[in-house]
């Protein structure tokens, strides 16, 4: 059950996108996501959808994996579509019954929003599918480093994120282990009302907390022993270099953005 969550997972590969600089990937993903909201008509939206499709093909991540990342948001998609259809009013009326009216504008907005959300999730999943968590946080640290001016401890935040990501699988395994141990003593986790089930979690939660603190303590000790003192003066094992493929990536996003702006100007806005 827990193992099935794919959103935010790395999919090993060696495509151009896998090898691209994480900083550039972060910036271009963010850029494309902003551009999604710049689209004003179906033509410019088409370009975004096309960009998302091309990018996923280039990433060589199987379509199945990309569709899987959409699974958790199906309910949100349906919900927003329904809300949009019934609440946005305007233009020709397609269907009417009592006080409920389905109009052209409602349908357009619904489709528009759906494509926007899907593109957003696809683009961000491609980012996480093609970038290891460590590279991602490393890149994030670099991208955000200008914030140091405002006394924000970017390095510390990035390190915290790296560690959190690193320990998710460990914690999942730990939970499984503790659950098995308590089940072996006859703990019943599946039956009873809400209160009873919440109570049944205590024997799992407490050992989990204890071992998490122990782990955190040991990790802190290990880091101190290796002279970790925070971000000051730290060098990196993996140097990031912007290469030709990163420039291509930027040009690709620029082209998509230009196309969208032109289509926004030439065609009438629907939203």
């Amino acid at each position: 059950m827990i193992g099935e969550i794919t959103f935010g997972q790395y999919y090993p590969g060696s495509s151009v996108l896998h090898r691209a600089d994480p900083r550039i990937k972060l910036i271009t993903s963010f850029w494309l996501i902003v551009v999604i909201f710049v689209c004003k008509n179906f033509f410019s939206l088409g370009i975004i959808a096309l960009t998302a499709i091309i990018t996923s093909l280039v990433s060589r991540v199987p379509m199945k994996m990309i569709l899987k990342s959409l699974k958790p948001i199906v309910i949100i998609l349906i919900f927003t579509a329904i809300l949009n259809i019934f609440y946005t009013q305007g233009g020709a009326t397609y269907w009417e019954w009592w006080k409920i009216k389905v109009t052209e504008k409602g349908v357009n907005t619904a489709i528009f929003t759906m494509i926007r959300i899907i593109s957003l999730v696809v683009i961000s999943s491609i980012l996480t599918y093609t970038t290891t968590p460590t590279a991602l946080t490393d890149g994030l640290e670099r991208v955000l480093s200008p914030l140091k001016v405002f006394k924000i401890k970017v390095h510390t935040l990035a390190m915290m994120m790296t560690l959190a990501l690193r320990f998710i699988p460990t914690l999942i395994r730990e939970i499984e282990r503790i659950m098995n141990a308590q089940k072996a003593r006859g703990a019943d986790l599946e039956t009873g009302g809400i209160l009873q089930r919440a109570k049944a979690l205590v024997p799992i939660f407490i050992p989990l907390m204890v071992s998490s603190f122990r782990r955190a303590y040991e990790l802190a000790l290990a880091m101190t022993c290796r002279c970790y003192t925070g971000g000051e003066g730290r060098t990196r094992m993996k140097q990031m270099k912007v290469s030709f493929r990163d420039i291509v990536l930027i040009l690709y996003c620029t082209a998509a953005t230009a196309g969208i702006i032109i289509l926004n100007i030439f065609f009438e806005a629907v939203i």
């Binding site: 503790i178 141990a181 072996a184 003593r185 006859g186 703990a187 050992p207 071992s211």
Partner: protein, 287 residues
């Protein structure tokens, strides 16, 4: 003879249907008689923990059957739940399962889940604490204030308190010093003598097994590679080595003595046995 636990054609496959599916155990036949002490040995990753997790229904077999006292434990929910109390399972590093405010209450967790009366629970806790060597004055302490070895005893008592017909220990001595190891083995042996319950031990230590087990199963690559008495298994040193296992050091010493032409028996598996024989031998030489 009736079996307490019997596995027939048991197979288990992890992550079935994905590209990572592996058969952790394959087509295993396994049986434990009443009061028997069974040892399971095998290389890391040979499927020992997977196998024993089937005996109280924590894992569901992909194919095959698990019978506890002749009943298939997957017959219905009730049987499954009860199997947890008939077969006590003590995992590797059991001290990480402690959670209650006091040691007493933690040991009582199992019996409480069995819905026993207050008096019965209290009796069982005291009895189990005695079996596992948990000191009386520790019972009112927080389990987190005990030392590592004491925590382990408390956790073991928590399983013993359910008074199961079979108790399974997965690597009970892992991470203990030699004395702790010895004490634990004595504890298991005493428990067996006092309760007559059947015991299954998973261990890497060939020597501990030699002194404890009635019968031994050797696992390799998810299958039972060998089974039999200590003598039957340990006499096949070559085969054991091919599976990444080894005969006890003392056996090797005696083998090299034999190779030097000294007349000593080949079936020596524990240091105690060895010392006895050497003493006799030296006595003969000096006289």
């Amino acid at each position: 003879m009736s079996y307490v636990i019997e596995a027939k054609g048991l197979s288990h496959c992890y992550s079935k249907g994905t590209n990572q599916q592996v058969y952790a155990v394959k087509d295993i036949d396994f049986s434990v008689e009443k009061g028997e002490l069974i040892g399971i040995i095998g290389h890391t990753g040979s499927g020992k923990s997977t196998l024993i997790s089937h005996f109280n229904g924590l894992l569901k077999p992909s194919s095959g059957q698990i019978l506890v006292n002749g009943t298939d434990i997957w017959k219905d929910k009730e049987t499954l739940h009860n199997s947890r109390f008939q077969v006590g399972l003590c995992f590797q590093y059991p001290e990480y399962q402690l959670f209650e405010e006091t040691v007493f209450r933690d040991i009582a967790f199992g019996p409480k889940n069995m819905k026993l009366s207050e008096n019965e629970i209290k009796e069982r806790v005291l009895r189990a604490a005695d079996y596992a060597g948990v000191k009386k004055e520790h019972l009112d302490k927080s389990p987190f204030d005990l030392s590592g070895g004491e925590k382990r005893r408390a956790a073991i008592a928590g399983v013993m308190a359910m008074e199961p017909e079979v108790i399974i220990f997965d690597e009970p001595a892992a991470g203990l010093d030699p004395k702790g190891r010895k004490d634990l083995i004595k504890l298991i042996r005493d428990y067996r003598e006092r309760t007559g319950s059947a015991i299954i031990i998973v261990s890497h230590s060939m020597e501990d097994m030699a002194s404890l087990a009635d019968r031994i199963y050797v696992m390799n690559g998810g299958e039972i590679a060998m089974q039999g008495t200590v003598d039957e298994v340990y006499s096949q040193g070559e085969k054991l080595r091919s599976m990444g296992l080894n005969v006890p050091e003392i056996t090797e010493i005696f083998a090299s003595l034999r190779a030097k032409g000294i007349d000593v028996p080949a079936n020596v598996y524990t240091v105690e046995q060895g010392t006895e024989i050497l003493k006799k031998l030296m006595g003969r030489c000096s006289s």
